[in-house]
């Protein structure tokens, strides 16, 4: 019989209600042999006690139910955001709180590049720097010859310098909606949406899909994840071409890879029949560390971009540019087919009309073909009201709510996009739980940074960037939030029998924390330091020794 290892911890929170707390856990062959007191665990046979976690707190490895592999690859560009971040190599990137700071960082990075090489930055967030809009003249002060592109944090906008404008021939004669102009008619340097950004992107070699599928990005994604205690993360929108799947199988299978990756196939890349066949074929390729077979359905746009489908009375202040990514009729046909084929769907719904139509489509699909324990999950689902949650509960749908949005965009939603009342019940975690809808919460990294403890903090406090509470009645407790980032998220991925709690038989996936998130003042939940993770019994410190 293989030898097992016993880890002693200051505290183990199992997230299993039968044995919620423990001090020792025994691991054998990558799985949890036993958890409990020292005596209980030792009763399985004597084994060396590993004391390295004796002053640490263990929770189940966190599960990020909605993020993107691009969160790793994006670090090949220069981070210029408003918040402190740490790159996959563990280098801190301090927050830049004004434009001059952004320019200074660009100058510094530029000084290390060949003179003509393009400089690409990401994470810029003008919401937090309202005094002045970044424009080409700012960036020209960094370089007049090197093309520079600063991607905004939402990835729907970028600001470029004159050298980049020249490269694509944008001038006062350019008649493209997304090429923003100054009062004098010249392009300001701000480019909005893909049509306007595409010419710059292809000339500067920026390709979102490659960022999410190149080997380095896949490795970096695991580093990003283990820094915040995550042992299982989705890649919730992927075309999963053969070559990419092979690369994922290869990399996730290596002994030094700490993350279980759960990609979801883009369902808009073919007919429902083709997608179903592809998903079923992919499912068979699943391994311990790569779980294939999920499908992602994009329905509408984003609320802050005014492209979400929002029900009457629509947007609060601002235009209604609501879009569908597929016609509602096609959504009905697609969900009907995938449901009939027994394929679990994750459906992107931001606005209330998108969630309403999607719930209705799933109701039809489930009426035609009952699918017990389907766990179809509405992703984001930011504007669902109580009635929609009641329907979701009745249909057995799960919700993965975008708690981070409250902090990053909550002020905007209250003041501009949807107004105070509807903003107060955005990402309604309390209502979801009260109505009996299985709940997960997420970051959508790289849109907002991956960090389940931060995401939990958002759901617990609902504080916006300006420090106001947005909808106090939708707050949830710390234990509820911690459940949502562990067993709750695992449930939405149909993996709750394997991960999400620390109990005998499950994978030995732990988040190793320096403090106890259950007992620290809840205001500091987001600040609990993460030492690293244990993934399938393998120990991975966040910062490699």
């Amino acid at each position: 019989m293989t030898q097992h290892t016993i880890y002693q911890a200051k505290q183990i929170h199992t997230m299993n209600s039968a044995t919620p707390a423990a001090t020792h856990v025994a691991v054998r062959e990558g799985r949890i042999l036993a958890v409990g007191s020292e005596e209980e665990v030792r009763s399985w046979g004597d084994a060396p006690v590993d004391m390295r976690f004796a002053d640490k707190v263990l929770l189940p490895g966190f599960v990020e139910g909605h993020a993107h592999l691009m969160a790793g690859g994006i670090w090949s560009y220069t981070y210029v955001g408003y918040h402190d971040r740490m790159d996959p190599q563990g280098q801190p990137w301090p927050a830049l709180t004004d434009i001059s700071g952004v320019l200074e960082r660009l100058r510094e990075i530029g000084s290390r590049l060949p003179p003509e090489a393009p400089l690409v930055a990401w994470g810029f967030d003008p919401i937090f720097l309202p005094s002045k809009r970044l424009d080409r003249t700012d960036l020209d002060s960094v370089s007049e010859t090197r093309p520079i592109a600063v991607m905004h944090s939402n990835f729907h906008l970028m600001t470029v310098n004159s050298a980049a404008l020249k490269l694509v021939g944008y001038s006062r004669d350019t008649d493209v909606q997304g090429v923003h102009k100054q009062a004098d008619g010249h392009p300001s340097g701000e480019l909005q949406e893909m049509a306007a950004m595409f010419p710059v992107m292809r000339r500067l070699g920026i390709n979102f899909r490659e960022l999410g599928s190149a080997a380095e990005g896949i490795r970096d994604y695991a580093s990003v994840a283990r820094r915040c205690g995550v042992t299982t993360a989705t890649d919730l929108f992927s075309s999963l071409e053969e070559e990419e799947v092979e690369r994922l199988l290869d990399l996730t299978g290596s002994a030094d890879y700490s993350l279980r990756v759960v990609p979801a196939l883009n369902a808009l890349g073919g007919t429902p029949e083709e997608i179903a066949q592809k998903a079923q074929a992919l499912r068979l390729k699943s391994t311990e560390m790569l779980r294939l077979g999920l499908v992602k359905v994009m329905t509408d746009g984003s609320i802050q971009g005014f492209t979400a489908r929002v029900q009457w009375p629509h947007y609060y202040k601002g235009p209604n540019h609501g879009i569908w990514n597929l016609p509602p009729e096609s959504l009905y046909a697609l969900t009907e087919h995938l449901n009939r084929e027994g394929i679990q769907m994750h459906l992107h719904v931001n606005g209330s009309e998108a969630s309403k139509v999607t719930i209705a489509a799933l109701r039809e699909a489930l009426r035609k073909t009952p699918f017990p324990d389907h766990r179809h999950t509405l992703q984001h689902c930011q504007m669902a009201d109580q009635a929609q949650f009641r329907s979701m509960a009745a249909l057995g749908l799960c919700a993965n709510l975008f708690a981070n949005h409250i902090y990053y965009f909550g002020d905007q939603h209250r003041d501009i996009t949807i107004g105070p009342e509807r903003a107060a019940r955005m990402d309604a975690c309390r209502t979801a739980l009260d109505e009996g809808v299985p709940l997960a919460i997420h970051s959508d990294a790289p849109v907002t940074p991956m960090g389940p403890l931060f995401t939990a903090w958002c759901a617990v406090h609902r504080l916006t960037g300006s420090g106001k509470v947005l909808g106090p009645n939708e707050r949830i407790s710390v234990p509820e939030a911690l459940k949502a980032i562990t067993i709750g998220a695992a449930y939405t991925l149909h993996l709750d029998h394997e991960i999400g709690s620390i109990e005998s038989g499950k994978r030995a996936d732990f988040a190793v924390l320096e403090e106890d998130p259950f007992t620290v003042p809840s205001e500091t939940l987001k600040d609990v330091p993460v030492w690293g993770v244990v993934s399938g019994g393998r120990v991975f410190p966040a910062a490699p020794e």
Binding site: Q177, F198, N266, W324, S330
Partner: protein, 312 residues
């Protein structure tokens, strides 16, 4: 700089007949290396003997046409086409049923290696007026109609004559700029939809490809070769007064310091100045079936562009 590749967008709601149109086009194209980007690969219906080769992402046809799946994303597909050593002579995108063609047209306006040929919107003549009342997709449908240069009222055989008239009026109200054509089973000449095809035809020859005959009762052609010369302003004035109903017009006119290339689709036109001289000016147009079409265009030409008695 590389010459730009004209991009044609075929938009329209579900069931309007976009795929029927695309199937028709790719089999009828001749002499133009056309790349067609489609959402639904499985819906293509191509005669086996026309297929030269195929893989999961592309189908190469014997006639030079290549069909590409949009499964990997529109921008990736466009980037691949534009970086390929052998550039296509035209690109056609079959937009999804809820796409906003204006946004797709912006891609061609923004990318220097592309130029906008036309936004063609296929409309289901039978159901469109009911469809626009749909709270979930009505506004999108309206925007599709409003941003078109060319509107194809498809399935016209399914509506009565009185309905047809009401529909024409309603469509004109929605989009007075666009030229309208009508069809059954999306049977229209390739050159009507694809500028690159129209471009290829030599206006000097009155050659009648098979569609001419096929669609004679639905479309008229006109061409003119003379020796006028004019300024950009004069040409612009002429184009502002183009007779109603002209679907496409293209050609060149000798300018004071070079050649003025002109291309008009619906009410939208473009004039480009090129250095160099041509022997004579040539214009060719396609419009609705009308015995007086040539006459009307001749009258227009004589009024606005025949400057024989003026200093060149």
């Amino acid at each position: 700089m590389t010459p730009s590749v004209p991009l044609t967008i075929v938009a329209g709601y579900l069931g309007a007949g976009k795929t029927t149109l695309v199937n028709h086009l790719i089999q009828q194209v001749s002499g133009v290396r056309l790349a067609v980007l489609v959402n639904d690969f499985g819906a293509l219906n191509i005669d086996a003997e026309l297929i030269a080769s195929r893989n999961s992402q592309t189908i190469q046809l014997e006639n030079g046409c290549i069909c590409c799946s949009l499964g990997g994303g529109l921008y990736d597909a466009l980037d691949r086409l534009l970086t390929h050593p052998e550039l296509p002579e035209g690109i056609l995108i079959e937009a999804s049923g809820v796409a906003e063609p204006d946004k797709l047209a912006d891609i061609a306006r923004a990318e220097p290696e592309l130029s906008l040929d036309a936004v063609v919107c296929v409309v289901d003549a039978e159901t469109v007026r009911e469809r626009v009342k749909d709270p979930q997709v009505g506004s999108i449908l309206r925007r599709q109609i409003q941003s078109a240069d060319l509107l194809l009222l498809n399935k016209i055989d399914l509506v009565s004559n009185s309905e047809k008239e009401a529909l024409e009026c309603w469509i004109s109200e929605q989009n007075p700029r666009a030229s309208q054509a009508q069809a059954e089973q999306a049977q229209v000449p390739v050159e009507w939809v694809i500028g690159a095809h129209f471009e290829k035809e030599d206006p000097q020859t009155k050659h009648a490809p098979k569609f001419r005959i096929l669609h004679e009762e639905l479309f008229s052609r006109w061409h003119r070769m003379e020796e006028p010369s004019c300024t950009v302003a004069e040409l612009r004035a002429a184009l502002e007064h183009l007779p109603e109903g002209v679907h496409r017009l293209k050609g060149w006119i000798a300018g004071s310091s070079g050649v003025l290339e002109v291309q008009a689709v619906g009410a939208r036109y473009e004039i480009r100045e090129r250095p160099g001289a041509r022997e004579s000016s040539r214009l060719v147009a396609i419009g609705p079936s009308d015995v007086r079409f040539a006459e009307r265009l001749d009258a227009w030409f004589d009024k606005w562009l025949a400057f024989g008695d003026q200093p060149g």
